[in-house]
């Protein structure tokens, strides 16, 4: 699967088409091009998306920035679909202000990802390509 970087960010940012799902309410939202942020422990989801699928807060939490700033947040559970693949039961942070889903390492670390900066294209390689890429250099 290939996905172009989002050019509405400068510099362009890798993005993946995802859908959000609540197994409790059986409701989907998306697809939309979510931003890839390997610097984030957790995935951030705009509150309006969480409301759209009828998700409920499950705990208060804290988001700590690189400067040590602590921000109180609310935590929700959702399933995140990437085409046919699903990452079930991801604990995400509700984003009260942002418009974009920001995929953190809780989601990203489940997939092999190839960032092709010059082509501004992110590839999720198929199983054959992954095996080839993982082969030790001879």
């Amino acid at each position: 699967m290939k996905s172009l970087y989002r050019a509405d960010y400068h510099p362009p940012i890798p993005a993946l088409p995802i859908r959000l799902y609540s197994p409790v309410t059986d409701r989907f939202v998306g697809p939309e091009l979510a931003l890839v942020d390997t610097g984030s422990d957790a995935t951030l989801v705009p509150l309006r998306h969480l409301l759209a699928i009828g998700a409920e807060e499950t705990a208060p939490g804290w988001l700590v920035t690189v400067t040590g700033e602590r921000q109180a947040v609310a935590l929700y559970f959702v399933d995140i679909y990437l085409e046919q693949d699903v990452a079930p039961g991801i604990r995400v942070i509700a984003d009260q202000e942002g418009d974009d889903v920001v995929l953190g390492r809780d989601f990203l670390n489940r997939f092999p990802l190839f960032l092709d900066g010059p082509l501004k294209q992110l590839t999720v390689p198929d199983a054959v390509a992954v095996r080839r890429m993982r082969m030790p250099a001879s």
């Binding site: 610097g39 208060p60 079930p88």
Partner: protein, 120 residues
């Protein structure tokens, strides 16, 4: 559908607001109630979080590395998979504000983000 009769002191300004926002009265009321219920749930979860903080050291040896669901200071269920636990508890207890937390060395559910913010 539930029918609610509003006092004139509420319905008159509500009609004006609906006209100004080009929305229906039902839409505005639903939004207000939705926000109120969300705030109430958050407040209840904050109280439950306080109970969890006080019990954390007792719970740590038994549940380290797992998620627990807690209501009124009682552990209802636990699972290594937080998503599975959440779905199970939601199906069993409906809309009850059950706190679901991961049991780690510290009670706070903390996440780090290296990028301070994304700039368009």
């Amino acid at each position: 559908m539930t029918i609610i009769e509003l006092a004139p002191r509420l319905s008159n300004p509500l009609q004006l607001l609906a006209k100004r926002q080009e929305a229906s009265i039902e839409e505005i009321i639903e939004e207000v109630i939705d926000r109120f219920l969300r705030e109430q749930r958050h407040a209840q979860l904050l109280q439950e979080m306080e109970r969890f903080r006080q019990m954390h050291s007792e719970l740590l040896p038994q549940f380290r590395g797992k998620y627990i669901g807690m209501l009124n200071g009682q552990v209802l269920d636990s699972d290594a998979d937080g998503g599975m636990l959440h779905t199970r508890l939601a199906r069993q207890y409906g809309d009850q504000p059950i706190l679901i937390v991961e049991i780690k060395d510290q009670p706070e559910q903390e996440f780090k983000r290296l990028s301070r913010r994304l700039v368009v």
